[in-house]
Symmetry: C2
Subunit: 411 residues, 2 copies
């Protein structure tokens, strides 16, 4: 590849080649040609590897990294991560198929989520995947299925703690919740596990997600490990796995500072030593999804029309919220804020044009970027939405209005 | 079918047979068995027909009814409506395939939406479907494609009016918009159409959607028709079609009163007479999606677990926001409100249990009904979400967390 390469802040860690953003070293216009058109998602293999390396560098060596497949279940991404991380966490039988196909051993895989069906429980037990039990009823069902299959289910208890992870984008624990077993009910469940033919694996305790403040992540981890120590005293056997969740956030919006991973790692080093001492058979598992893949992916669409309506300029694209619901501000966000965007084939041009970038859907919700200042773009140019490697395509209503689903590539 | 049939308010127009809600006359447990499992969407063929009959009864006979396929593009629904309505409006080439497959003649079909690709324009022109032009650039592209295909594109102008439809759930016109051509720019566009080899069809003027107030719908229709009369003076030929949109709302939430269709019809009768007099070659088209199918459909899922967490009861189901994003409050809603729900196999039981109904996804967003009072439900029971016939399945992120997509049935 000829031409000047440079890294700049606006490229968010990707290379820029001849004024074009490059994913996995391939400039976007060429990548679009290779994919066969726009829109598409592109994930950078090297950036994913770098992110895992960064985690290995900062987190204590005894910590096991588990990838939450739901963040990005593209089979090629899962396959790539199978060679990098220590385990996978699943949310469905669909994800289980991808995880097992990757060659990840079943004893490194766990399956969480409320409302697992009998079919899903049966598939997981047959595969040898560990269940993160969400309720007392689920334990009974799992034991019954295990009996009928002649297999001993492996099961951890997902605990709904009595504290919340402060500052999280999404709170998953504390208070009344459909997830996990309330901590005060866990001893009864553990007693019942000892009566049934179910192998006790350990605990899954997860307080929240998308937290950018190391101090809060550390505090939640401290509380989580303390809670696990208390619960371990009631356990029917040694704790083999202690999944303390993740919750590591990535910066999406102006003013978001990246998580101080070194500080998180320092806190975790102390906890890891305590866990080794007090629960010697336990793997200490940190489960991450968004943090591993979120910044390694972009969504790419093409400008179809440049339209001025009453002094406002719209770049109308062939993309939209049917491909990327989160960027439109319609997936759990209370206030819509712009993700970082760029004109992918004009990275070197001055940003002097204020435009709104919209999708091709007949709804005012279909906004990709509102009043952003970017280099002047014309029909044919490529719009890039950064921070799109997690909860992008699969978290979007791809059938909405009957357009084709976008491709995904790992480069 | 044996047993007592009764109609009650809580059944929202569906029959109740032996304490079970019936869709198309089939009680839900039997329907679930026929579909092969839960979750699924079910649409009632007879209720759709009744709704079109109601429209025919109240709207003046010269009004043409067009169905906006995007509201529910299930092929069987579109096929059923092909025999009932006068035309279809499309938002994509995908919808065009379904519409043409139904046998609806191409000259009764129009295709709207910003950012139509060259491929889509080419398909529509080849099919003989009318384009609702969204910009001056789109006109040029359509003319060029028409030349290369040796076909004369049929085109109406989608107008962005200089007023808004008050009280709409979603405003589609007025101000700076990516949709349509600003009214002040329309005369230039009409002049250009006359120069090009493009057949002028008429106007598409659409102010908003989901309005429950007849007075406001009438006012918007009055303004819309007046605007069309002004624009028609500049048109390169007779107006053959005048699509004044729809915007008829359906009641979703407690306190929502149904639209007074008779009042809308009265207003429209006067307008229709004026249109006949002043634009004698024009079909006056009312385009409706949600109003035709929204109340004829339900979403059905099954209780997997009944869970009490800290004094709150959760019915955990095999459904969720991946199937029905709107009910979770995450599709354009600012404040989440409960859709009407029922326990579909316990319609006759007293409602004395206050529960939250949640889906099977690991996210606190996955709420189907929050703190509703319903008959006591146990695992195996069927949860029904009413008002789910429009913008349900296709407006949802079905691949989220890797669960199977639900089936759809027209009964």
């Amino acid at each position: 590849m000829k031409g000047a390469r440079r890294h700049d802040h606006s490229a968010r860690g990707f290379a820029v080649v001849d004024g074009c953003l490059a994913i996995g070293g391939v400039p976007l216009p060429r990548l679009a040609a290779r994919v066969g058109g726009t829109p598409f998602y592109a994930y950078d293999r090297h950036l994913i590897t770098e992110r895992v390396d960064l985690l290995r560098h900062h987190l204590p060596p005894t910590v096991h990294l588990s990838y939450a497949v739901k963040a990005n279940p593209m089979p090629a991404v899962v396959q790539h991560l199978a060679g990098l991380v220590d385990g996978f966490d699943l949310a469905s039988a669909g994800e289980m198929k991808t995880a097992l196909d990757s060659g990840m051993p079943a004893d490194r895989i766990s399956f969480a989520g409320p409302g697992k069906t009998e079919q899903e429980l049966s598939q997981a037990i047959a595969a040898g995947v560990a269940l993160n039990l969400e309720s007392a009823a689920e334990l009974e069902t799992a034991a019954r299925i295990g009996d009928s299959l002649g297999l001993r289910p492996r099961a951890a208890v997902r605990v709904n703690p009595d504290f919340e992870l402060k500052g999280s984008g999404m709170r998953m624990g504390g208070g009344a919740k459909p997830f996990g077993v309330d901590v005060e009910r866990v001893p009864d469940l553990l007693r019942r596990m000892a009566e049934l033919d179910v192998a006790f694996e350990g605990f899954h305790i997860f307080g929240g997600s998308q937290n950018l403040l190391a101090e809060q992540v550390r505090e939640a981890q401290r509380h989580t490990v303390d809670l696990a120590f208390r619960l371990a005293e009631r356990a029917p056997g040694p704790v083999r796995g202690l999944n303390i969740g993740g919750g590591f956030g990535i910066p999406y919006f102006p003013g978001d500072a990246p998580l101080d991973l070194a500080a998180v790692g320092e806190g975790l080093a102390g906890l890891a030593a305590e866990v080794s001492a007090r629960l010697p058979e336990a793997r200490l598992i940190v489960e991450l999804g968004r943090y591993v893949v979120g910044e390694a992916g972009v969504y790419v669409c093409r400008v179809i029309d440049r339209k001025v309506s009453r002094n406002q300029t719209f770049l109308v694209t062939d993309g939209g919220l049917h491909h990327h619901l989160a960027v439109s501000g319609n997936f759990g966000q209370v206030v819509r804020r712009n993700y970082p965007v760029a004109i992918g084939n004009r990275m070197a041009a001055p940003a002097d044009d204020t435009v709104s970038v919209v999708g091709c859907l007949c709804t005012p919700l279909d906004i990709l970027a509102d009043a952003v200042t970017v280099p002047r773009a014309e029909p044919g140019d490529l719009i890039v939405v950064f921070q799109s490697g997690a909860y992008g395509l699969t978290a979007s209503p791809t059938a909405f209005l009957g357009h084709k689903a976008p491709d995904e590539v790992l480069v």
